[in-house]
Symmetry: C2
């Protein structure tokens, strides 16, 4: 059973999709006059960006802006920028994690590698001079990294060009730069973690916060609010809503990754277990499980050829240890905390109602 998508998200997606497509098309047109044909890379990027996604972050930019009394039309383009920022992070992440599937389709480096393997992306010397095997993969990965960085540059452009007073655009950009650094550090920690000692749950939580939590709720809401010149009280209220909800979102994602139905998540629910992802859920199970279960979990995680039966046995440990139940309760509590932060009066009632619905959706989509 799927929980209905909140109205604010549906409205935003309907508004933003065509504008995002138009923006990418305009950028694609500008690439056409260049001496080397990049149409294939552009088409692959366009498809990746427009291939669904919840558009949660863009919608939150609008809501943050409206909470501060701003007009929707002033912040639509910056909100597209935040969606492109998200695409940038996903593209780099996919490459670094060697993921092959995202949003029910191939990741960008996989699409680009496929093109080179088939003899080059267009007319010309393609097949004859085309790099083979490992070299083709490196080229495809490099082009994917660059396409991601291009999304980041475009995101900056869209945020900086907001048609608001200069102090407001500047305040938003000044919030963005350290947030970008935080996400980057979070990703470095995530990649480097398997080289060090096993992390306790608190360490996993901190990495998840840096890597995803902060830019999923806090960044877009505050960016939107700052573009409307929000007062400190409103910024504090938005932050008090965003922080617990970012954590709840991550816990929900961890649960979805292990217990979610493939038809909802778009990928096998054994994936995270096969990859051996050290989520908060896993860290807590390792802390709570009996010594023999903990050993079985440690030994079983990260087997690329894990059978469905083996995956189900690991799920059994997550349930038995109480980690699954504890995670669901914690997501509920964090969500309740986020909703309580909406009640102080700093956030206008209509916007608070939309944010409340988004908070529910954030955790219900899994439970």
């Amino acid at each position: 059973m799927s929980f209905p998508v909140p109205q604010a998200l549906r409205d935003y997606a309907r508004l933003a999709e065509p504008q995002l497509a138009a923006f990418l098309d305009a950028k694609g047109a500008a690439l056409r006059g260049l001496p080397v044909d990049l149409s294939h890379a552009h088409a692959a990027l366009r498809d990746y960006v427009l291939r669904g996604g919840k558009r949660l972050r863009g919608a939150l930019v609008l809501l943050g802006h409206q909470a501060a009394g701003g007009r929707r039309e002033d912040v639509l383009r910056p909100s597209l920028g935040v969606e492109l920022l998200h695409a940038y992070l996903l593209i780099h992440d996919d490459f670094m994690d060697r993921d092959e599937v995202r949003r029910g389709g191939p990741t960008l480096h996989v699409t680009l590698a496929g093109a080179f393997k088939n003899g080059g992306p267009g007319p010309g010397r393609g097949a004859a001079r085309g790099p083979g095997g490992e070299s083709a993969l490196h080229l495809a990965g490099s082009l994917a990294i660059l396409a991601g960085s291009l999304c980041e540059a475009w995101a900056l452009e869209l945020v900086l060009e907001a048609q608001v007073a200069p102090e407001r655009a500047l305040a938003a950009a000044r919030h963005l730069a350290p947030a970008l650094a935080d996400v980057t550090v979070g990703q470095m920690l995530d990649l480097a973690a398997p080289q060090g000692p096993e992390l306790p749950a608190a360490g996993v939580l901190r990495i998840e916060q840096l890597k995803t939590g902060s830019y999923t709720f806090e960044l877009p809401l505050l960016l939107g609010a700052l573009l409307a010149g929000a007062a400190p009280g409103l910024l504090a209220a938005l932050r008090a809503y965003a922080l617990p909800l970012g954590q709840a979102f991550q816990i929900a994602d961890d649960l979805l990754g292990v217990f979610g139905a493939p038809e909802v998540t778009g990928k096998s629910s054994a994936n995270d277990l096969r990859e051996g992802k050290r989520t908060l859920l896993i860290a807590r199970a390792l802390e709570r499980a009996s010594p023999s279960d903990a050993a079985a979990l440690r030994g079983g995680l990260g087997k690329p050829d894990m059978s469905d039966a083996e995956a189900e046995a690991l799920r059994g440990i997550l349930r038995r240890s109480g980690a699954e139940q504890a995670a669901r309760q914690e997501a509920e509590q964090l969500c309740a905390l986020a909703i309580r932060a909406l009640e102080g009066g700093a956030i206008p009632a209509a916007i608070a109602a939309e944010l409340g619905a988004i908070a529910d959706y954030t955790i219900r989509r899994t439970l």
Copy 2:
């Protein structure tokens, strides 16, 4: 014989080096409280950034700012940002081109890969869980990409936090974002070019302009000037100086790559020929050479095991075709054009004199 480094560059480097080191140390200290040890990656990045370089771009930020009547102290931190932006681009470039040496030392992904091969960067499960071979290289490459992106985020932070009027900081940042997109597109073109038909000289020139020309002179000068609220006349004069000089710089770099003494460039002068880099110099030689020389050049370029004698034979073709001589003349002419742009009166005489010396240095270091 080496041409002396202009006073403005030497002064800037003396001023900026300790500040850049202090900035990186402060960022390193902030990383120390995190749940995974990143001290090794930070140390490698710090060494890479501080390992020399001309600091040309940072110095140009100061000169652009002073040309517009700004105070040096207001723009010192943004100028460090532009040096970090340069480091970001070099780090990504090194990874994508698989270069192993930069500024007389290992590139960042090479340093990081070495650490993993030796059993992990620190205490902990390192060697036991450390990825082997290809996987270690992917992890090292990913961490290098992230360290580069971190430099980019820090660069943004430093530019946006300039202690000048908000309109000025915003104008500078609005200039920066599309310049970042241009450099990224230039790098995409550069990587994709070998997959397409052989480029004429004009195509190579356009790629070099996007990839390096624009951000080496124009971006830092204009950024500095915009941070001081420069008038349109001054911006136009700085652009008229920067555009031809960016091209001259690139031509000089191409010449250095093939004819430069290894003790000046820090790498073998056969490198560019072994890599088969399609520079403007090569494109022009292919257009001018006799059919048999052009065929020999096409056939000889890009052989990883090229002997010194083979490299010298290719240099002979570059000389015989007149491409070398034409490139030197063109660099001279472009430099003269840049220097002429300093004479319109829009740029204060003292700054114009420094920029003139930098223009001379830009091409003399090779000739």
